[in-house]
Symmetry: C2
Subunit: 692 residues, 2 copies
């Protein structure tokens, strides 16, 4: 194998000209041991200054954005959303940087190895090693490693002037760094989504959301891939760059819709809660689906490797998809549960600072743990966020509850705006992009068609099984809400090795730009035009639901429900398990494990029940995160509440057959799910901000 390689990659790189350039400024006249570090120091100092300038510029932009957001909110302007605003500010600065830095150069000391090179490997080596003498007059060699920085353009070779140099270094710095995005900014955004999720509406519509996220995104990926493959066949100049695999990869990355813009408008306007849940749920889950899909396509390519369709590799990819999704789900939830257990069984709540720090770190850890295990961190941290909100939140001290909410809200806000600014700036400064009008047109066309094929057929299909039908206006709105944002962009620039990938970068940029500014700006008019309810008051909503519930339960009392196994039985089964085992185990809620578990488990139950749970039967009931998050315990346990109502008082034991007499579908879940009328009006003290 290794021999084969050596023959294949003829390595005849001949270097015949060297020159060693020095920085022209501040060069000492004499060179002695005491000055040995001067040049390196100057290099480090210059680097530090450029870092500072970069950060400074981004901070300034971010502040400008915040002030403009405030002005817009204050004046109640909605024609441009904050993410669009960030994008535009970023672009302006990016353009300035690009066009002032046209005469690129870099005059830190370097060795230039010119010459004829017979180097046939498709990519440059990842590192270069130089052997140099240890010191002035020593024969020991030291070996210096150089890491791949990237390709430099032709006009890099000769220039002077420290300003130009600084600007050049600057323009390479402000390029969007996908590692920073994926490792730092994205986790905050997604965790906040999970932690502050209105779980009631999310779980109520879970079936539909899963359908849109999993099936819909796959449809979108396939449709985009197919159309792009078809259309690129007609583009003579780029056709040979695109394999079918490339097209599907593009389909995968461009299918990640962005929750940020639409949702904050919905949130501001208090638009219809079900529509909110659809769009929120779809966009959050579909980011993860798109990430997993694109890496599945990648691994399929690596496996099948030019051998045409390979059934084995195809199924491996599907298996891989399932593994990645379930693995990440498992890790995320498990770490959330571990945190819940720690906060339950230690008295760490006496020190809110430590408690908050622990929650923060554990959540971030779920992300990195998934990434390290080669799963997808975004799914991990999303479910960790949900678990933390569902269990750990209940164990926190009052102070930590506020702290964590406010902290994550702020982080999310900063991260979101930063991302859009960053995208804006790097649209001009990112090096690896080829613009091709035909390709961009094809991609815009394909995503519109794909969105259409995703939303309408699925909604119609879902409506067959739903009592609470998805309205046509909702479908239109969902069609319209297919904004592409940070995830799509970051995925596209993560890999820019081939021409095909570089073409994809530019069209992704274009699509992000168009959808965020155009669709984002037109959301409010669109809502009005489609006559979708805005200004929905959760409390009033709850009252209506409660009333209709009361009417319905009266009916039910007259006509006992038919036993029927429907699609929600799994959800209900889970809910029972949650109430009987998970909540008592992981939180200080009542009833405790000693009451819910079979008496034979007594010693274990006793061990796992805190004093607080035993002595204080009503503890935390009021502050339960479900109440706080506007979710209701009985939401999903219709069977339970109905049977309580219809058959009178029942015991807590022996309800394993509870699913049998449940009557759950989305509609009834929505209308009946409120056993305790007033509970939903308990609000935690302190406003929770306006950007949830």
């Amino acid at each position: 194998m290794a021999d084969k390689m050596t023959t294949k990659i003829r390595l005849l790189v001949l270097f015949n000209l060297f020159n060693y350039a020095m920085p022209s400024a501040s060069t000492p006249a004499t060179i002695g041991p005491a000055d040995a570090d001067t040049k390196e120091e100057l290099h480090v100092l210059a680097q530090h200054k450029i870092d500072s300038l970069t950060i400074l510029m981004l901070l300034g932009l971010l502040m400008l954005t915040i002030l403009t957001i405030w002005l817009f909110k204050h004046k109640r302007l909605r024609f441009l959303h904050e993410s669009g605003l960030s994008l535009i500010y970023g672009m302006i600065v990016g353009a300035v940087i690009k066009y002032t830095a046209s005469n690129k150069c870099d005059s830190s000391p370097y060795v230039r190895l010119n010459g004829t090179a017979y180097y046939t490997a498709p990519n440059p080596p990842a590192a270069v090693y130089l052997k140099l003498p240890q010191s002035f007059n020593s024969s020991n060699l030291k070996e210096i490693k150089y890491d791949l920085w990237g390709e430099v353009s032709e006009d890099t070779i000769h220039c002077t002037g420290s300003l130009v140099r600084a600007v050049h270094a600057f323009s390479t710095k402000v390029t969007f760094d996908p590692e920073f995005f994926f490792n730092v900014l994205l986790p905050f955004i997604i965790f906040e989504a999970g932690y502050s999720m209105k779980r009631r509406h999310f779980f109520k519509n879970l079936g539909a959301i899963m359908a849109y996220a999993f099936i819909g995104t796959t449809i979108s990926c396939v449709v985009v891939g197919g159309i792009m493959y078809g259309l690129t066949r007609f583009m003579k100049d780029i056709v040979k760059e695109f394999t079918l695999n490339d097209c599907f990869w593009f389909g995968a990355i461009i299918s990640a819709t962005d929750p940020v813009t639409i949702l904050s408008i919905f949130s501001d306007l208090r638009a219809d809660v079900d529509l909110f849940a659809f769009i929120f749920g779809e966009s959050v889950l579909n980011d993860a689906v798109a990430i997993v899909l694109s890496s599945s396509v990648d691994s399929y390519r690596l496996k099948s490797n030019q051998e045409g369709f390979n059934a084995n590799a195809f199924f491996l990819s599907i298996g891989n998809f399932a593994k990645i999704f379930l693995g990440a789900f498992g890790i995320g939830s498990a770490l959330g549960c571990v945190n819940a257990l720690i906060s339950k069984f230690t008295k760490i709540r006496d020190f809110p600072l430590l408690e908050t720090a622990l929650l923060f770190l554990m959540s971030y850890m779920s992300f990195q743990a998934c990434e390290a295990a080669e799963l997808t961190g975004i799914v991990g941290i999303l479910f960790c966020g949900i678990t933390q909100a569902h269990y750990t939140y209940n164990n926190l001290s009052e102070e930590s509850k506020h702290r964590t909410k406010q902290l994550f809200e702020l982080m999310n806000f900063l991260a979101e705006n930063f991302v859009f600014l960053y995208i804006g700036v790097s649209i001009f400064t990112f090096q690896y992009q080829y613009w091709h009008a035909g390709f961009i047109f094809a991609s815009v066309f394909s995503i519109i068609v794909a969105r259409f094929c995703n939303i309408y057929p699925l909604s119609l299909l879902l409506n067959i099984g739903r009592k609470n039908k998805i309205k046509t206006s909702f479908m239109h709105m969902m069609m319209f809400s297919g904004l592409r944002g940070a995830i799509a962009y970051a995925l596209s620039i993560r890999n820019t090795a081939t021409t095909a990938k570089k073409l994809m970068v530019s069209s992704t940029m274009f699509i992000v730009l168009i959808t965020v500014i155009l669709c984002g700006g037109l959301t409010t008019p669109m809502l009005q035009w489609l006559q979708i309810r805005v200004g929905v008051d959760e409390d009033v909503e709850m009252k209506n639901i409660k009333e209709s519930r009361e009417r319905d339960t009266e009916q039910i009392e007259q006509t006992p429900p038919k036993k029927k196994y429907d699609k929600a039985w799994l959800v209900s089964l889970w809910h029972n398990f949650d109430i009987k085992f998970m909540k008592p185990l992981l939180t200080n809620s009542t009833p405790n494990l000693m009451e819910t578990l079979h008496p034979c488990c007594m010693p274990l139950s006793r061990l796992l029940t805190t004093e607080e749970q035993m002595t204080n039967p009503c503890v935390h009931i009021e502050a339960d995160s479900d109440t706080d998050m506007i979710i209701d315990h009985r939401e999903l346990s219709i069977g339970e509440s109905i049977s309580t109502v219809s058959h009178g008082a029942t015991q807590d034991t022996d309800k394993h057959d509870i699913t049998e007499d449940s009557l759950i579908d989305d509609n009834i879940l929505g209308d009946l799910g409120h056993g305790q009328p007033m509970r939903l009006q308990i609000n935690v003290p302190g406003p929770l901000g306006e950007n949830v």
Copy 2:
């Protein structure tokens, strides 16, 4: 000049052997255009995984630390402080990484350029350029840039095995990165110090603190430098590496004492407030002094450049010192004031999230603005923090007040612990360190002597002018509190170009280790042994002060104070300006500018007075940050309050001569400063955490 260089640096690097290594795993059998990106992708993936593993490990350690801290707090153990704990945990992991990664290697694709090299420049070039053909059969060349990564050790050349490879990459990753420390972690720590500073005690003892910080640190720097220069003359093996300049540089960096450990113990134990102020003030300011000193020494070296003592360069360095300090002070305070103005004149307080984000960004901006202007960010952000707390805080909405306090507290906590973990880990993994027992012994000896020469003479000198003498036990405690921490460490590893610098790294590590673990652990016994008061209750303290104040004012009423200009007149002058101009201008406090300014400025005053200030005369008085921060308005305006008491009711106008009849020294400031007895007992709701 350039020609001279070319002849001096004979560049005859001859490469006569090349080999191109490929990753052995997952190499595709055929190489076509579709696979062109495979290798690069694998490289990116591997990189991402290593990043994740690194972060994961640090997160895990941080959580372990938090849980151990909780356990220690819970069990009331104090023999080891949290920073010591982080350090130890970090070291354990660092040792494991180091000794499992002994067989270093790196097998990403690379070009190795071996051969005899006549390369006489003292440092390797900062970059290497390779020219390669654009593609398989093209004659166009593309130029690839490679950045300096560092020196690799001899055993790097041949090895396989992905685990070993990962571990190697890992051990280079977890090395403390001074840029990350200076740009990300340090700002949080210092800002929090300024923002949560108990300004009353700080300003009361400002004279003494400034003396310790400025004069004391300079003494320390000179003493350490002198002793090290003397002692290294006896170390034959390293003597020629050390110039006098190197020694002073070491003196500067090792003089940065660390506030973290001692202060949190003091805070927990509620030790004597004056001693707290001395140690806090000294350690916060002296970090900045040390940074500025070390860069002054550097610039002195660059200027004087081997020409022996150069008076011009020496005075330039002193001028530089003043410029850096005052410039940073100016930028930091100015940005704080800008934020105060924004929060006063806009209604951004209707949106606490935006308000908090703005405060956060503006504060961080003060740091980066100073760094970009080549001043010292640490001074900038410290004074920005103080300004924010003094002015902006008063304009914030109630929610933002909580948010900002909790946010910065958490950030500070995480940053502090992370720093010590990081130091612990990198003690083993940092490459550029030479250990030399004699040098370490000399440096430990010199810092003890230097600390002695700093504290005792200065304290005795200060006591001449102070009524409230610095007790001998306080001096001993301050002598003992000279812990070295993150700043010293980060400064030392920022520059490791010469052997001298590498020796300094190892002794700084050693000193940090010893002082944090030993002195940190022994703080509580030391406080007991020196019989320093602990468990001081601020409120009780205030009551006592109030009573003694009342006694004193009675005396004053009998014997009117002599007019005397003492050292605090500047402070008093400033305070008057603050009350009459700055506070009314920058906050919504009363009296407003229309009342305090001369009537001729009426149009301007009117413009700068908000409606809130005009209509609501008592607004914000209770929530003023001075109250909140346990500081008192009248603290420094003794003249004013005394005159109010002694001469009966006075008008607000025409008090420009107020300083003339003031009777201010540290003692009276402390004892008399409380015009309104009950104000200090107003506490903001919600605990402020235990780590202030």
